[in-house]
Each structure stands twice: as C-alpha cells, then as structure tokens.
C-alpha cells in the first residue's frame, strides 16, 4: 500500500513489520519522531514488543545487547552525539556478534552544537565492526530496515541503517508499505545459536586471553585475536550474503537492484560522481543538466559502506576518466573517508591496468548547510574540466 509519510515513519513501519520484540532508544533530534512512533505502536498493542525507556544512548544499546543476547529481535535508533555516546557499546555489540539493527538518522556532531544533517556521526563509526547501509529515499529506508534484519541475523553482525536527518527523516514522500505476509515470508523468526538461559548458563565476552585456551569440554577455544579475525573474515563474506538478501527481497517484494551500488547514467559516462545517501539522488538532477550540455557524467550511490564493496565499485568505475566523490563528512587532517576508501579500491583492482581514474573530493552540506542543486552542478562540471584542488574542496563555504 502506498502512503505519504516522512522518513522516520518509513523506518518505524519497517521495524514494526519485522516484529522487533524489544525496543530501547533515547530520543534525540532528528531521530525522535521515529522512537515516538515505535512507542505508540507498542502502547496501542500494534507491536507485541517491550519498549524499555532508558536514561541515555549508552544504556539504550546496553539494553539491546542484553536483549539480543537473550535471543530476541531488537531495535534502536539514534543520531549524532547520541551515537557517539554509545560508542563503547557499539564496539561491544559487534565483538559479541549480536544482530542488532539500529537506525542512524544522520546529523552533524558537536562542537559547535548543531542539529542539522551531515554524515560525520555514522562515518566516525566506520571501524567499529558494524555493517553500514545508506538510504537515498523513503522506499529505501523501509526496504533496507527489512533487509537489514535478515542480513544481520544471517551473518551475526549488527547493522546501522543510515538516512539523512531532516532531508529524509522529516520530509514527506510517497512510498510502498509491504504487506505483513510478504515480510513474514522474507524474514523468519530470529533463532540464535545460543540465547541466555538459566538452565544452560554461560559467561559471554568476559576476559578473553591473548592466546587460545581449552574450554571446559577440553576443546580448543578462540583467543581474542581469533574472535576478531572471524569478525573481519565474515564482514568480507557478508558481501556475498548481501547479494543473496537482495535476490530474495526482489523475488518476494518485486523491487531491488544491485545490492552494493546504485549507478545512474554511468555506462557511457566519462566522469562519475559518487556519494552516500540522499545526496546521490540530488546529483541525478545535476547529471541530467550536464548531459544536456553534452558532458558525459553519471552518478553512483554507494549503498553498502561497510563491508566496503571494493570490487563492485572498481568494476563500475573501470575505464572512467574521473571520479568525483561528494561527502558530508571527512577524516579531519586528510580527506573524505569515502574518497580514501574508493582510491584504495581503485588502486587495488585497477593499478595493473595502468588506467586509474583521477579522483577528486568535494565536501558539502556540513552542519545542514543548504546544498543548492545549481551550485552542485557547477562544481561537478568544473571537476570534469580540470583538477579543482588537491585538497578536498568545500562547496558553499563562505569564508
């Protein structure tokens, strides 16, 4: 059924359709309407879930870690400084291999205090061992939440479903809400390998020695390093599982595409713009305008940021003259994290061909600064004509 609602409602409906059993979240703008909506579903009996009020984001994720360890499907959501306050538990959830799905409603981080959109919050959590998926519109939000539960539980790795604060979270657009029967067919009940159980007690994630050890049954158990290696190894194989998720999803819901990237007019493009989230849809308008001027450009949205689909990205950009990365975050002291990752992928897969595309990096929309389509178009155009700057160029800066 098609409805017109905002992005937070799209996320809440996704969580509801996935039948999460425990919700723990602490309100923070622009995530607040999402958690309010979930609490209303629980209060009205539309969701058979326990809504656990907490006093902080750190506690919210701690509750989710405990509930997930007990074998329930859990949901949380946050933004900006709330996500940063969780940071210790974020790492813990990944090392504990708990399939938690968390919506990150992207917002700038303080200082200075700012409630508007950029992506510094989730990008700063890149190395925590969570899968990160980015959404470009409301349909992708609700669909990604549903895919995320299936994928997280398949690979036992937590997932952040990231979408732009306000631009998506508070904007109303039409989208299709799948039927409960479809979602139930796609997503089976959560059945963990082990769930906390007083009849079969266990200590989870206590002090784990640098070296391997014998367990109580006389079997050789992992040391810390093996556990961390397995997280990395299975993050990499998650790429293949994500393709399976996309295939299953497409079969049941009748929509889907490339699981990793979302290319637009890239096939014959000489230059390709790359980014994460709603910005990549805005760039489609820029691409259309420049195509009318005879400039062969395309745009590619990256849907998976971790694990990084390096091979898919390199294949898609093979033979291009230039790649222009637009980012709403950066690794201070160098450049945008996506630009660095993308260069690394191009080098790994294309260096032997001797044909590496030139990569340029733009920083846009930091702290909610308006991203004007015309300005974006002119900068993209300039980058197809010459090297704009060695350092990342900030669009719309008024210094």
């Amino acid at each position: 059924m098609h409805i017109i609602e905002n992005g937070n409602v799209a996320a809440a409906l996704g969580v509801k359709l996935c039948r999460a059993n425990v919700i723990a979240a602490y309100p923070i703008t622009p995530q607040t309407p999402l958690t309010e909506r979930l609490s209303e579903y629980v209060e009205a009996g539309e969701m058979k879930a326990e809504y656990i009020p907490v006093e902080s984001e750190h506690s919210a994720l701690a509750v989710c870690i405990a509930a997930s360890s007990a074998g329930t499907r859990v949901s949380t959501a946050t933004s900006a400084n709330g996500l940063l306050y969780m940071h210790e538990q974020v790492q813990w959830a990944a090392g504990a291999r708990l399939p938690i799905v968390m919506c990150v409603v992207n917002r700038a981080v303080g200082a200075p205090w700012n409630i508007w959109n950029d992506q510094q919050d989730s990008i700063s959590q890149r190395d925590t061992g969570w899968i990160q998926m980015y959404c470009a519109d409301h349909q992708q939000i609700i669909d990604t939440v549903i895919k995320a539960y299936w994928l997280a539980e398949k690979v036992s790795i937590p997932i952040m479903v990231c979408y732009d604060g306000y631009i998506l979270s508070h904007t109303y657009m039409p989208f299709d809400v799948p039927d409960q029967e479809q979602v139930d067919a796609f997503l089976p009940p959560f059945r963990p390998d082990y769930a906390l159980n007083p009849e079969d007690p266990a200590n989870l994630n206590t002090v784990t020695l640098p070296d391997v050890r014998m367990d109580v049954h006389g079997e050789l158990a992992h040391g810390y390093m093996e556990i961390r290696y397995l997280l990395q190894e299975e993050m990499r194989t998650t790429l293949a599982v994500a393709a399976e998720a996309e295939k299953r999803f497409t079969e049941i819901f009748g929509r889907g595409g490339d699981p990793y990237i979302e290319p637009y007019r890239c096939d014959d493009a000489e230059y390709v713009a790359v980014g994460l989230g709603s910005l990549t849809y805005q760039l489609r308008v820029c691409v259309d305008a420049l195509r009318k001027e005879g400039i062969n450009v395309g745009v590619m949205g990256v849907r998976f940021y971790r694990p990084f689909p390096d091979e898919a990205i390199a294949n898609a950009l093979k033979g291009k003259k230039g790649v222009i990365v637009f980012e709403k975050a950066l690794s201070y002291g160098y450049e945008g994290a996506l630009a660095s990752d993308l260069k690394s992928a191009l080098y790994e897969h294309l260096a032997y061909t001797g044909a590496l595309p030139v990569v340029q990096n733009f920083i846009v929309g930091i702290g909610g600064r308006d991203i004007r389509t015309e300005e974006l178009t002119q900068n993209l155009k300039a980058a197809t004509q010459h090297r704009v700057s060695k350092e990342p160029a900030w669009i719309g800066l008024k210094l």
């Binding site: 017109i4 703008t29 409630i115 508007w116 508070h170 805005q282 489609r284 909610g368 308006d370 004007r372």
Partner: protein, 186 residues
C-alpha cells in the same frame, strides 16, 4: 503555470497546521496521479507562534531533488500578519499566485506581477464550527479556487481522511465555504 511540476511554499506559524495542510494537498495530488510528491518542512526551528515554512513540490515524475524550493509557483499564507514578518514573495515566479488568509478586503492589497487570492478563513472556519484560529483546512479551499490544481472534491476527500476522528465534516465545510468565497484576481 506548468501543471506537470508545481512548487508551493506555505507560510504559517508554529502550531497552525501548515504542515498538515500541505500533507493533505500532497496526498490528493498523489491520488490524482502525480507520482512525485515531496513535502519538506523548514527544519529545526518549529516553535508555537514563530513563522514557519513548508515547501511542497508536485510532479508527474519521481522527484530526486529534495533541496528547498527557491522559485515557487504559489505561496500560501495562513496569517496576513506574516506579510510584515517574512519575505513571503521571495523567489515567487512572475505571474505566481499568492493565497492569503486575511480579514481585510481584496482591494486593500497591491502585489505587482502576482495574482492574489484572499478570503477571511479565520471567520469562515468559525462559521463552519471549528475553534477560532483553525485555518489549515479552509486555506486548502482558497488554494484550489486560486490555482485550479486538483479539483475541490478530491481535496475535501483528503481532509475527511486526515481528520477522521477530529471533526471531519466541519473541516470539510470550512474548505468548501472558503472555496466558494475566495476572491481571486485575474
């Protein structure tokens, strides 16, 4: 006005229901076959009584650009006192439409290059049985009269669906009366 791509900017005060009004029009447009409908409130500054803005874009095709609209075809003003507080005609296309809730006579306004439509929605809404100050459904009737976008019937249907449990018939009546009594310039 290009009816395949229409940009409407709404000016109201926090708590006045401009977002709900824009949402009703968005829903009616979608039902009428506009595949692209985007309603974006001004972000982060909503406080009761403070001037607020909402933009609504209606398109025959899916909309990929969610950036704030800069050159509206129509501006809708829920409170005539906002004319003194906000630059309501900023970016309005030449020949664009201004829909204004005001107790003053149509003739007392002079907007060069724009088409004006006025009605005393505040009084009409009270007449329809709504509490004083509830103007967000009445203004939809004025908008339709001024712009002839979607047809009044589908908008009234949208109002009744939105206000299922909150006086649907009175809200629908307000829109109907406003539609009938709006004075629109040529």
């Amino acid at each position: 006005m290009n009816k395949d791509f229409i940009e409407i900017r709404w000016h109201g005060r926090g708590g006045q229901g401009a977002i709900t009004a824009a949402k009703i029009v968005a829903g009616a447009a979608f039902v009428s076959g506009y595949a692209g409908v985007v309603m974006a409130p001004s972000f982060g500054t909503e406080r009761r009584g403070a001037p607020v803005m909402t933009s609504l874009t209606i398109s025959r095709e899916k909309i990929y650009d969610l950036s704030p609209i800069e050159t509206p075809d129509i501006v809708v003003i829920l409170d005539h006192l906002l004319l003194k507080e906000a630059d309501v005609t900023h970016g309005l296309k030449p020949g664009g439409i201004i829909v204004l809730n005001t107790p003053m006579a149509f003739e007392s306004y002079h907007f060069k290059d724009y088409k004006l439509a006025t009605a005393d929605i505040t009084a009409i809404s009270v007449e329809a049985g709504l509490p004083h100050g509830m103007v967000n459904t009445g203004i939809i009737g004025s908008l339709e009269k001024a712009a002839n976008l979607l047809g009044i019937d589908i908008l009234i249907q949208g109002i009744e669906n939105e206000f299922t449990k909150r006086k649907p018939e009175k809200n629908a009546l307000a829109a109907k009366l406003a539609y009938e009594r709006t004075v629109a310039g040529g």
